[in-house]
Symmetry: C2
Subunit: 233 residues, 2 copies
Amino acid sequence: MVEPTSAPRTARARARAELTREIVDTARAHLSSDGAAGLSLRAVARDLGMVSSAVYRYFPSRDELLTALIIDAYNSLGEEAERAEQAVKRSDLHGRWLAIGNSTRTWALVRPHEWALIYGSPVPGYQAPQDTIVPATRVSALLIGILVDAHTSGLSPAPLPVPRVVHTSLTPVRQAIPVAVPDDLIIRGLMVWSQLIGTISLELNGQFHNVLADTDAYFETVIQRCSIDIGIA
Amino acid sequence: MVEPTSAPRTARARARAELTREIVDTARAHLSSDGAAGLSLRAVARDLGMVSSAVYRYFPSRDELLTALIIDAYNSLGEEAERAEQAVKRSDLHGRWLAIGNSTRTWALVRPHEWALIYGSPVPGYQAPQDTIVPATRVSALLIGILVDAHTSGLSPAPLPVPRVVHTSLTPVRQAIPVAVPDDLIIRGLMVWSQLIGTISLELNGQFHNVLADTDAYFETVIQRCSIDIGIA
DNA sequence: TGTACATCAGTGAACGCGCGTTCACTGATGTAC
DNA sequence: TGTACATCAGTGAACGCGCGTTCACTGATGTAC
């Protein structure tokens, strides 16, 4: 949850922690019916049987509540993907990737509005603060781990040439990768990540209507082919 | 535009066509500031110097106006992509694909909110009607054209096996493809299409912050690599 | 060509609703001596 | 251990705002004879 209040002592502190959680939970439920733009403090308060102004004891504004929801969503997805990935034998790079892909999609299908919150179009008038950056990277960190392992075990595919401009453009990501990995592999990783997020978003947004009859089967094929692209099939 | 009023005779009809267009144009402008969920009939009316109820002479409800915007957006993107693709020599499949990719991204960068309207998360409480289906397929129709040409000129890459379930799942898309094309190529096409839409959406949603310094260069590499995947590099 | 009637665009008031946020307040809980 | 004071959660009223949609109406434009 958002406030890592370590072992609240007093009754007051315990009540506060609990209500904070209840507010966030209720807000999350509202997301499903009205989307992020329609998230309303008053509606949340109503559901909890409190007066709308009372919520201000817990969140200074509607946007802070939104931020809490975003952070929670990233963490929830991150935990799910980590759990799935860690259940696979370390040496099974292919299996680790499938675990990430499948758990991410499953998470998204269960919580389409939370997915939209983190990977959908930005909420107008809302600017995500710095606090969301770290939780946002948990899934990609797992993918980076696989790429690094693939590289150090010499599995990577024959690299394609990478133009100088693109090499330079990769400077920011490279910060997030613990060891030196070839530009080509980074690009393959980025493309596979885009493919994953993009495919899930297209499915959730209904763009596969009149295109695919069975999105489960298609998705399975997509992640299988992605693992060929990064040389871990 | 939405109403293909062929040669309006009377002054009244001409005025009506013009005002309809002005309403849509104004609504489109409002999209940029507040997003689709915040689109307001009253605000549009105010901007046009009319009373809010007058808009109901032109659009029976807010949702109809949204529908008009969606159809316009699909058509605008479709026209742009078609123009770009048709400027390339028919035999240059690689160039045709680059034209589609680049024109689509350029269109999206200029009109991020219209992009969100058609490829972003669905507007809560709004259900797109049938009228949007045809304009929605213009870009993918161009891609299908390239795939067909690649196949008939024997350019396609060595096909990977496609599971039976996936074959069946492709039934709906196959309706949209004039000639018989191998399952493998259809899947490659779908993946390339997802890669295109996904990459552009990730860029617009700010997911490449702290990842890529130069998204132009990265995108160029992505579409180059996509054309390898569909065997037209 | 001129008149009578029908159609239509735009007005202005109203209905009923929801929202975020502020503020002075009461009463319960926690803390320091 | 008991009391005095400080902190805090929650109340209820209010401010000022915006929204979609309906309706009876006026006056201009179009049409049929």
